[in-house]
């Protein structure tokens, strides 16, 4: 099927789309009812908010967000479910959307006060379940944790991870590389709860622990922070220790991956003896265990896009993500070249469905009548 820019997405996929990066926005007052004291009082009395690091603004029309995603009443983009339904889920025919939070607050990014971070993560999870996951059948969630305290984080994963709509544990990319064995209790908890580990950058200092002079440099180099995490996971043997674990790298695209796989393979051939727990080529580990989101998409021709997938050596590693409502949102039609139907089906739906075992594994067809949900609207009441 030829899909041109501007075409509505109704006919894009019979199954609908799985969007692996949707930023719901929580405001600090929203979390207060879910916090016990003293944590609640530190927000209500002391005005605590989490520190941020970037020295720049996001130099766009409306800062971090799409200018057309702000609510008519002035509330921030992503903070209202009804508006998000209308502008994203309904408009783009999203079958499942994975919530990834606004990264503010981001408990695992806090540079201290890990008890507050732990309390904040629990509050966020309870708020997310009540106000988002249980309000729309299409939305699935991320378990937020304070990963600086891995044992407390594992307890939180065991507490909310069994919720049927929690599909992953979210780790920010900032100044900690998470493959270190110190953090492995988190991965054990994720594995026993059938959850994916997902990483999304927050505000990593990508210049030797500092920030480059310009935002355009920082934004260009985000993929280097993701490369550190992938390398850390592979060579620290995370996937050897947790063979059922999957990792999703969110919002650095996928074009850095062929280079990294080839480089890791070459290093492994020379230096295997330093990491003897690694028993196969890193590229094989990556292909089996790690998935990468599409956004932010570079502009590709159809041929260029196919060439890049050839370099990956797999059509199963890339999952569509919109990053709604952020400014570098990718539209599922306008942001992509035309492609084969079979490839479109994988990137916009099947690859994410295979990644998340807790999503209904029905290929978009009603289990009762076997007709597609798209062609049989009366069956379109899933879960």
């Amino acid at each position: 099927m030829e899909v041109k820019q501007g075409q509505i997405t109704d006919g894009l996929l019979e199954t609908g789309i799985i969007d692996t990066d949707i930023h719901e926005r929580v405001l600090y007052p929203d979390l207060v009812p879910y916090l016990d004291n003293p944590w609640r009082r530190y927000i209500t009395d002391c005005g605590w908010i989490q520190e941020k690091h970037l020295p720049y603004t996001q130099p766009t029309v409306a800062g971090l967000n799409r200018a057309d995603a702000a609510l008519p009443d002035g509330r921030p983009a992503g903070s209202d479910l009804a508006f998000l339904r209308s502008q994203l889920l309904d408009e783009l025919n999203i079958r499942y959307g994975i919530l990834t939070g606004a990264l503010d607050p981001s408990p695992s990014s806090m540079n201290g006060w890990h008890e507050m971070a732990t309390a904040l993560a629990s509050a966020y999870n309870d708020y997310q379940i009540e106000h988002w996951l249980e309000k729309d059948s299409r939305l699935y969630g991320s378990v937020h944790i304070a990963a600086q305290d891995p044992l407390a984080a594992a307890r939180e994963i065991d507490r909310v991870g069994p919720h049927p709509k929690m599909v992953q544990v979210l780790l920010p990319i900032d100044n900690i590389v998470w493959g270190d064995p110190y953090y492995h209790p988190i991965f054990a908890a994720a594995e026993r709860n059938n959850l994916v580990i997902a990483m999304h950058h927050n505000e990593p200092a990508v210049y030797f622990g500092r920030f480059p002079r310009y935002f355009i440099e920082w934004h260009t180099l985000i993929s280097t922070a993701h490369m550190m995490q992938v390398t850390s996971f592979v060579f620290n043997g995370v996937f050897e220790k947790f063979p059922n674990l999957k990792l999703l790298m969110i919002e650095a695209g996928f074009t850095y991956v062929p280079h990294l796989m080839r480089k890791m393979d070459q290093q492994y051939r020379d230096l295997r003896h330093e990491v003897p727990w690694i028993k196969r080529l890193p590229s094989e580990i990556v292909r089996e265990h790690i998935r990468f989101t599409t956004q932010p998409m570079e502009e590709f021709s159809k041929a260029e896009f196919e060439q890049w997938l050839d370099l990956l050596g797999s059509e199963e590693m890339v999952c569509f993500s919109s990053d709604y409502p952020h400014w570098d949102f990718d539209h599922p039609v306008g942001g992509f070249p035309n492609m084969r139907d079979s490839l479109r089906q994988k990137i916009f739906h099947d690859n994410a469905l295979a990644l998340y075992p807790k999503l209904p594994q029905d290929q978009g067809r009603c289990p009762r009548c076997s007709r597609s949900f798209a062609s049989s609207p009366n069956c379109n009441q899933e879960s």
Binding site: T60, V61, R66, D68, D328, H331, G334
Partner: protein, 132 residues
């Protein structure tokens, strides 16, 4: 095709407005100096609604790293999503790549009315997926 889209008094200098021109959504506006312009309301990158963007200025090209000079106030249409800049006084050229431009329509004043027209064939901007 020709269509009255609004009164001139309804479109002040520095303003953007979305209008329906037949079946096509257009963004029309006036520069800070009052010059009218009309373009397709779809960004040539990913299709964002340009009427939700901002009519602003930009930093002038310079040979000196670190030098900022804010120019063209009211002449630059910035996309509401990715922030791409289009020069409305230069046919909607994309400022980072002047080979690309927005789809352009004729716009003029007749009496008190603002009129959009395709009587002269609209200059078609490059579309992002032409090479796809």
């Amino acid at each position: 095709m020709q269509q009255v889209v609004c009164k001139l008094t309804e479109l002040q200098p520095g303003e953007l407005k979305e209008i329906q021109f037949g079946r096509i959504s257009l963004v029309i506006g006036r520069t800070g100096a009052g010059e009218l312009f009309a373009f397709s309301n779809r960004c040539i990158h990913q299709g964002a609604p340009l009427s939700k963007g901002k009519l602003c200025g930009t930093s002038a090209p310079t040979d000196l790293p670190g030098q900022y000079s804010y120019v063209k106030e009211g002449e630059v249409l910035r996309c509401p999503w990715h922030g791409r800049e289009f020069d409305v006084t230069a046919g909607g050229q994309m400022m980072s790549d002047p080979r690309r431009a927005l789809g352009r329509f004729q716009i003029f004043v007749a009496g008190e009315d603002v009129v959009v027209s395709t009587l002269n064939k609209p200059e078609k901007g490059e579309v992002a997926d032409e090479q796809k």
